[in-house]
Symmetry: C2
């Protein structure tokens, strides 16, 4: 179960964890970033303490509380400031601004933590009768406002329904290689339960350590190795969802043609239809030895073409992540340690420069994993050959090793940069190969222009990840100086300009972050008015009185 | 465009095509089947002629006809007996009974054949105003009653909307490897258009020669090589659908997490939401040389375990089709030619018998195809080794060659057997590996029992096809003697008993045939009442007055 008291209430990840940079590296990085952003960077005002946040007193009537306690147990209904604040927001950039300023727009009246399906159903019933919204909350790592306790017009408040006590492995079917979990189980617990039995799900989103199976399903999540294992939509076999209208369950079969696939209504449903309480997923034998390596390309277009060749060859790689020139340069900057006398990376890079991999170069990280070591080595050899034939310069395993070491650490950097007045935001889309480079250029341009307009300066960059036969995901990062007191307005303006650029390029508003409240304004543009209306009709069927997660998605 | 006048109006496929058996083979086969079914088989009463079928006169008011003609052109509105009869049924066993007896339950008032999207929209508008149902009709090969011109209570009649003039390739994007077609294009035309440019879709359902892209999407079709290329659900990128409420279009991106995937509401929608007019699909370079081979297993369980190993190894095979002992024996019987002096198959089999591959043996056909010949040979070698290590006896390429020669011919046999008083019906499901063998046994048993009860005798058999990580499709065939005059009742009783057995085994009512009217009684059992209600809600959003294909699916 996620031990929320061991997590930072107003930032990413576990208490006591940090970027693990030395003082000298920190100083050098701040100096360099300050130079690029056109202003000196220094530690800003301290974030407020939890105690300092003024919360409205819970509005729940005693009989409602009593009924919730009867359903979830004494410990299953929580109204402390810690619980209400930690369940009030997710982990988007504006969420961090709100937490650090102690200005939270809405907090749940209470956090309910049901330990079984019946209790979930009871909570939905009580909420409907008491005119309360219910907001499903798993790991709380949403970066699109998916867990904000919003209420619909006329509702008296919101309950945050924390799923993390629903965390058991219910069945493992070694013949069919499927496992059935309660959906509130978090990533590490799920993988530990499978590893004990020799299996893995292979789903490692950036939020892996603090997100849940149910959350992955509700947001159509992908993991860092999803090129190999498939996104959560490909891993899901069937699910049980408690909706206000009753339980919906899909069938445990590998495929069906019995009308539209109901799993696909649950995938991406973001809690607006009901609470995912159980899911059966495809598992594979534990990967014996992952292999991840680096490669350099002379330019982004060349790297994209090479990655596309591997995708077209349908090689079973687990990941390909190609940084553009700006991201490649920034990640070298992040790794640079001025105290280190001999830097083998620097030596290798200056060598590479002489081969034409200098300014504009782009780094690719590619990897394979499987229980079959021979399959890994064959795949990696064939991928390397194909990539090298397409202009790649192999960098060996060292970039892969540092990536694996730090794969879940990057978000810690965001808090540290915020401490120093620098905001980091990320956006993502997917595009067909034919429009990928134009889309990359347009969105990076839009980010730079938005940062300059709304923040005075900024750095924008991107990487390609998650390749498909017909296209790939582009993941954008922007760094810009925060204007104290105008954090949310600044963020919103940059978000708006970038989202418009993504849609103008023909991309989706989200490849894997989801919609929540932040992307909701673009839903009708993407899905069409009629498409949104169809999803609303489904919602009315499952949730006639609008209890579930109002204001999100639709 | 499908030239319907070149097709048999009351049977499968093209005029002039046949089973291509010699007289002596026919006689031997009939004698042997008669022996097994416990009665001599002889040519029965001739099916009625088209002219002999009494059709109700079309009920369309002149102004409605005039408006339809204004929308679709003179040639686009057809009321001849040939057009009305050929658009009245699909190609299920009961459809063949109805056609042969000339007793068709419902015929469309007219067949409309729009040549562009605007005309489709106009037809839906005119139908709504004239209180008519619209039944989308592509190739008309539905085996579940998907194209019957049913009407809802109060509707004045039905129009069959033939999509086959919507048959153009609109765009081919070689970079993203996608192609956009009008959805009424038939299989051979689609593959020809792609082959000219060096590509293939790789979607070859049994009905390939007489089915359309739109029909594949509407029924969640799979093809014979879908283990490699993926089902139509994996090949579809985006679509345009004309619904009574307006056009819905999905986005041309490889993946999105912007809420539930709308493509998945269109896939399997069986014409109840609207008319699919356009679709973009993933294409691959033309396969250089397919390679298909045979293998024998000593028993079905052994074959299933071997196939499962290949599926688990995620080898890129294009097909694995494992017949059970009864199907293996019947297919040997079908191939047997008494006039042939030397039969190499017989020699090989008697050799195999000495190795323990005698009674109970099961034949596997497996194959790979790709534009990359080395990939094919590597895949086939690895598959052969894995299968052989799991008890398979390689039979070489000869079974593969005859399969490929006859891959689209099997349905012709059904008509010939019907001529001789033997009905052939097929049913299919998908099951997880852990329940696959029990499901196989239960459903084959149910088929045998149902045939004995309702037809006095029968032969039942199955094959496994379409493997997934967690399970596979089972495809059942039953042969039984037809009782003249009670054809439909007999069929319905056997269908009911078998469908119950499929659901009792935990299988889906359809892996790829769809729901139509024949499987509709089991929809709520499979999807749950709430699941069906959700799909009905979607239908109401797209088709508020119930114009589209009433009585199907939901």
């Amino acid at each position: 179960m996620i031990a929320r008291e061991s997590l930072r209430w107003n930032g990413w990840g576990r208490l006591g964890e940090s970027t693990q940079m030395t003082r000298s590296r920190e100083a050098a990085l701040l100096a360099e970033l300050g130079r690029r952003l056109g202003r000196p960077l220094a530690r800003g005002a301290e974030p407020v303490e939890l105690d300092a946040i003024r919360l409205p007193p819970p509005k729940l009537a005693p009989d409602v509380l009593a009924r919730l306690r009867a359903a979830c147990g004494e410990d299953g209904v929580r109204t402390s400031a810690f619980e209400r604040v930690t369940h009030a927001v997710g982990r988007s950039l504006p969420d961090l601004f709100r937490l650090r300023r102690g200005e939270i727009e809405a907090v749940p009246e209470a956090v309910v933590v049901p330990a079984e399906e019946g209790a979930v159903a009871a909570v939905l019933r009580i909420a409907a009768e008491a005119n309360l919204a219910v907001v499903p909350f798993g790991g709380g790592s949403s970066v699109v406002g998916g867990v904000e306790p919003r209420t619909a017009a006329g509702q008296a408040g919101a309950l945050s329904l924390d799923t993390t006590r629903l965390d058991r492995l219910l069945r493992l079917d070694p013949e069919s290689r499927t496992a059935t979990f309660q959906a509130g189980i978090d990533g590490p617990s799920l993988e530990a339960a499978l590893a004990q039995r020799g299996y893995t799900l292979g789903h490692f989103p950036q939020s892996f350590e603090h997100s849940t199976l149910g959350g992955w399903i509700a947001t159509r999540s992908v993991g860092q190795q999803s090129d190999g294992y498939g996104g959560i939509d490909e891993l899901l076999v069937c699910a049980r969802v408690v909706t206000p209208a009753g339980v919906i369950r899909t069938l445990d079969v590998p495929r069906a043609a019995s009308g539209p696939e109901l799993n696909q209504l649950l995938l991406g449903s973001e809690g607006v239809l009901g609470v995912i309480v159980e899911a059966t997923v495809r598992i594979r034998p534990s990967a014996a030895r992952p292999d991840e390596r680096g490669m350099l390309f002379r330019c982004f277009a060349g790297g994209v073409a090479a990655v596309r060749e591997v995708a077209r060859a349908e090689l079973p790689v687990a990941m390909m992540r190609l940084s553009d020139a700006a991201e490649t340069e920034l990640s070298l900057l992040l790794r640079h340690d001025p105290a280190r006398r001999f830097d083998p990376t620097a030596t290798a890079l200056s060598l590479a420069e002489r081969l034409g991999y200098g300014a504009g170069r782009c780094a690719l990280l590619y990897g394979a994993e499987s229980s079959d070591a021979r399959k890994v080595s064959t795949t990696m050899r064939r991928a390397r050959n194909l990539l090298a034939r397409n202009g790649g310069l192999p960098l060996g395993r060292s970039p892969g090793r540092s990536w694996r070491r730090e794969r879940f650490r990057t978000p810690y950097l965001r808090d540290w940069l915020l401490d120093h007045g620098v905001a980091v935001d990320t956006m993502e889309t997917a595009l067909p190969w034919a429009r990928l480079e134009a889309g990359h250029d347009a969105v990076v341009c839009a980010l730079r222009s938005a940062a300059a307009t709304h923040a005075g300066s900024g750095l924008a960059m991107a990487h390609l990840s998650h390749s498909y036969l017909d296209g790939a995901c582009l993941y954008f990062t922007v760094l810009y100086p925060v204007e104290a007191g105008r954090e949310i307005e600044q963020w919103r303006a940059i978000k708006r300009d970038t989202s418009e650029a993504i849609l103008a390029a023909g991309g989706t508003i989200s490849h894997h972050h989801g919609i929540g409240v932040d992307h909701q304004p673009w839903m009708a543009r993407e899905k069409g008015v009629l498409g949104v209306e169809a999803l609303r009709a489904v919602k009315r069927a499952f949730d006639p009185s609008g209890v579930m997660n109002p204001g999100k998605l639709l």
